[in-house]
Amino acid sequence: MNDQALFWIFAILAGGGAIGVVILQDIVRMAFSLIISLGSTAGLFFLLDADFVAATQLLVYVGGTLVLLIFGVMLTASGPFRRIQMSSGETFVGAAVGLLFFSVIAFTVIDVEWEKLAASHRPVVDAATDETGSTSRAIGLRLVGIPADTEVGVHSNSGEKTGYLLPFEIVSVHLLVVLVGAAYLARAKRHETSEATGGDA
């Protein structure tokens, strides 16, 4: 029951924040509602027992990326650009397409009966996490190339899983490239962009 309650709180905050980003006109308020949305997404991750992902979401996304975005907002949103009005036609079309799109996805989501999947593979993450309920060690091992949950043997086609060492390395190199690239793109007085990247890295 209490997870239920927490879920609904976070869900409403996340969805509402997202919709707020669309609806609001003031760029700064959009940013704020985005923060709310992403932060409560972190909450949802907690409810999904993905504590490490949740913490990362907070640290990197909310603490890094969004600060970055707001920073950009501050740099650009001088006077006229705080609120750029769009024609009502656009608004209407956007809303229509959005609703269509949402209906499509929602139809799919509801149409598929996930219970089969869910029922069959219940204990995966429990097995992967250690008894403290933390997935951090499992994920870390996975990132250095050792799939932890194969040891438990619960995982299907567990035999040849080799983890994520290569993607991990690739991503780190990619971050370095981004660091350089951003530092180059934002020349002169705007070092901050590149630093933020480093912070996330």
Binding site: V93, G94, V97, G98, L100, F101, V104
Partner: protein, 800 residues
């Protein structure tokens, strides 16, 4: 590596350096400081190179004298000569005559013993270019006393000539050189930028090639540098390309040489294919000393050739250390020798290929001097000497006769020539004939001895004539000169030295008081060498009476030589000036030209001191391969004893004849009794014949040129009608076919391509409107696209 080899290699490569520097740096020296006149830098560079080469060769010579343990003053030759009094000469000759084979035995001790054989040359490998199985292409060197002497001689003379050329070619150091002998259509003279540095670059290359030829240790290298020498002579003879005569002369020299080289190549091919090696001898200095060389294979240490009678006919068995009985047919070896000699004929202008040399006078005089004395023609004689061991008696006989004919013919032509340089040219030919004759007669040392001495006095005389020509403002006709000795004393008297040297005049103490002063005649170099040759010829004639002609020809020619040489000198320097105006304007040449004259005069006079007991001769005879008579050949080659026997008589005869010739010349051209013009009128036909050089050119014209023209015209006719016809037909067909092809192309292919292109363009234009460049619309399209896809899928597959 042997010290001599080091020195000589350096001396050999120095001129190449000079050549490279001048050719590539020439433009720079063109613009060197000094206004519109170019700097003498190029000249200094090449003089430095060749001079340094001379010093190095001299050092090498000194080393050689010690290394080849020359016992100069008590050599067996000298001993035998000294204890062979003229009185019992005939008796000893009789003994020699009865037992000709004994000479070989008596001789075996001296050059026969291996260590002496080891000591008289140094050969090795500088650099290996490529190896194909057994055949090695390599830069080898073969150094014996001949090589050393040749190096010293060539570099010394070349140095003098370079220095002389600095003065002679001085008018080339300008951007506006006027060539007075070239008339352009509008009657004016040709104006061209001077070619000072090119000239010296060519000279350097020339010396490089000649030295390379002398140093060469294998046939391959010999051939390469042989051809290089030919090229350089071509470049230098045709130096004034604008003059038609010069270019034709260059072509003539080149083509005639090709004729000889044809035989030469054949000879080389035979040698290579049948001996399987390029090398002259096995290496004894550095490099793999595995395979024996040509010379060792043909003759053993005693100089004997093993001839066997097999069912294939006569064969020459190779003399190999491992005793493997490989052999070459006798006639094949003879052919090889003849081929190589053909090459020598071409290079050193022997009968019948002598015609190019006089025309080579078209080149600048220093070039003539170089060509005539040190490099070009010397190459032929040197090569004949070098390949001496390979020559079989038949070949030697051919060489001897060729030399005899050449020397006589050339001398006779020289008698009537009036161009000062042409006289010298013909004299060169006849002197070369002498050398060849000597080699053919087995007087190896004598021939090369004459080569060296002749090089000195002939270069001297050419330079002197060059100085005369410069002094007389490029007037070469002797008939217009006269009495110049007052105007240019140095030239005149140095020339006189040369003349005396070539005529072989001397005060023969040997004959007068043989006991005390044997071989100590008061004489210039020419006397000794010619004397040696004539002595050899006399001995030969006595050993083989059938070939007495080979003795008469040189003897007579000695007289003729003396005649025409003094004629030349009297014409030019003595008597009264025939052309007053010319006489007034002529002047003595600057020191840069007279200096070399003096140096060369010194050498022409003194280089052969002591005659056959002198240092030079001894040096040369160190590297003489002693040859034994081939069994079954009718020829008996004279030995040193025999020559020593006849030496005295030969000397006297030669001297008398020469004196006669001199006297006649004096009477005719100073005393005018008998008047030469009278004689000319009386023997008009002969004179005409001689002036036309025995009509050799006409003969060749009739024999070769015209037939070739006729045949060529036939072929050209065939070409024009038949071949061109066929070709044209093909061409026309091609044109028509391609016409169709073109129509197909333009119509069908291009049509398709253009159609596709247009369609693509239309589609692109229609799609252009979609690209609004607006990000948000793109996103909208994406979303709509997804939705539509979804709807489509569900419309098409409702059951899934």
């Amino acid at each position: 590596m042997d010290i001599k080899a080091c020195l000589l290699t350096t001396a050999w490569l120095l001129p190449l350096v000079g050549f490279a520097v001048e050719i590539f740096g020439g433009y720079w020296s063109h613009h060197a400081p000094g206004g519109r006149f170019r700097s003498r830098l190029a000249a200094y560079i090449s003089v430095g190179c060749i001079g340094g080469g001379f010093l190095l060769s001299l050092t090498a010579l000194v080393f050689g004298v010690t290394d080849f343990d020359l016992s100069l003053w008590d050599s067996p030759h000298h001993a035998s000569a000294s204890e062979a009094p003229a009185t019992d000469a005939l008796a000893q000759f009789a003994v020699a005559d009865e037992a000709p084979a004994g000479h070989g035995g008596a001789e075996q001790a001296q050059p026969g013993d291996p260590d002496a054989h080891e000591h008289n040359h140094v050969s090795g490998r500088l650099y290996e270019l490529a190896t194909f199985g057994k055949i090695r292409f390599a830069i080898d060197y073969y150094i014996d006393s001949l090589t050393l002497v040749m190096f010293t001689m060539v570099t010394l003379i070349a140095t003098c000539i370079h220095v002389f050329a600095i003065g002679y070619m001085d008018d080339e150091r300008t951007d506006e050189h006027v060539d007075h002998q070239v008339h352009i259509s509008d009657g004016s003279h040709l104006h061209r930028p001077g070619r000072f540095y090119q000239f010296f670059a060519y000279l350097s290359l020339f010396c490089f090639s000649m030295l390379g030829l002398v140093l060469a240790g294998n046939i391959f290298m010999v051939f390469v540098f042989w051809e290089l020498v030919g090229i350089c002579s071509y470049l230098l003879i045709g130096f004034y390309v604008e003059r038609h005569s010069a270019s034709t002369a260059a072509n003539k020299a080149f083509i005639v040489n090709r004729v000889g080289d044809f035989g030469f190549i054949i000879g080389l091919m035979i040698l290579i294919t049948s001996f399987g090696t390029f090398n002259f001898t096995a290496y004894n200095d550095r490099g793999a000393s595995d395979q024996p060389g040509l010379f060792e294979m043909v003759r053993d240490h005693d100089g004997a050739v093993h001839v066997d009678e097999t069912d294939q006919g006569r064969v020459v068995k190779f003399h190999t250390p491992n005793g493997s009985d490989t052999s070459i047919p006798y006639w094949l070896l003879v052919t090889a020798g003849l081929g190589i000699f053909a090459g020598c004929v071409g290079k050193s202008a022997q009968f019948p290929l002598q015609t190019w040399l006089p025309d080579a006078m078209e080149g600048p005089t220093p070039v003539s001097a170089l060509v005539h004395s040190a490099t070009m023609v010397a190459a032929g004689v040197y090569l004949a000497g070098r390949f001496f061991p390979v020559f079989l008696p038949e070949v030697l006989l051919t060489i001897a006769y060729t030399g005899a004919i050449t020397l006589f013919v050339a001398a006779t032509i020289a008698v009537v020539a009036t161009d000062i340089k042409r006289v010298l040219a013909y004299s060169t030919i006849s002197q070369l004939g002498y050398m060849m004759l000597a080699i053919g007669l087995g007087g190896w040392a004598a021939g090369l001895f004459h080569l060296i001495t002749h090089a000195f006095f002939k270069s001297l005389m050419f330079l002197a004539s060059g100085s005369v020509i410069v002094g007389c403002h490029h007037e070469q006709e002797m008939t217009r000169m006269g009495g110049l000795r007052k105007k240019m004393p140095i030239t005149a008297y140095t020339m006189l030295v040369g003349v005396i040297a070539i005529c072989g005049l001397a005060i023969p103490w040997t004959w007068a008081v043989p006991k005390i002063a044997s071989g100590w005649d008061i004489a210039f170099s020419g006397y000794h060498s010619k004397d040696a040759i004539v002595a050899t010829a006399l001995t030969y004639a006595n050993l083989n009476p059938i070939h007495s002609l080979l003795f008469l020809a040189p003897l007579v020619t000695a007289g003729i030589t003396a005649f025409y040489m003094f004629r030349l000198w009297f014409y030019t320097f003595a008597g009264e000036p025939r052309d007053q105006e010319l006489y007034d304007h002529c002047h003595e040449s600057p020191w840069v030209m007279t200096g070399p004259l003096l140096v060369l005069a010194l050498f022409a006079a003194a280089c052969a001191i002591g005659g056959e007991q002198g240092t030079l001769f001894q040096l040369l005879s160190q590297s003489e391969t002693h040859v034994q008579d081939v069994a079954g050949s009718a020829i008996n080659l004279p030995t040193h004893q025999d020559i020593a026997v006849f030496h005295g008589q030969a000397g006297i005869m030669a001297l008398l004849v020469a004196g006669l010739g001199t006297l006649l010349a004096y009477l005719m051209y100073c005393r005018r009794t008998p008047d030469p013009s009278l004689i000319k009128r009386q023997f008009a036909a002969t004179h005409e014949f001689l002036v036309e050089k025995w009509r050799f050119d006409e003969l060749y014209d009739a024999m070769f040129v015209r037939p070739v023209h006729v045949v060529a015209s036939w072929f050209s006719g065939f070409d024009h009608r038949v071949l061109d016809g066929i070709l044209h037909w093909f061409a026309r067909t091609g044109v028509t076919v391609s016409g169709w092809d073109r129509r197909f192309d333009e119509g069908v292919v291009d049509g398709i391509v253009n159609w596709v292109a247009e369609k693509t363009q239309e589609v692109g234009r229609s799609l252009q409107t979609v690209q609004t460049g607006r990000l948000r619309q793109y996103v909208m399209f994406i979303a709509l696209g997804v939705v539509t896809l979804f709807v489509l899928i569900f419309a098409l597959f409702p059951e899934t």
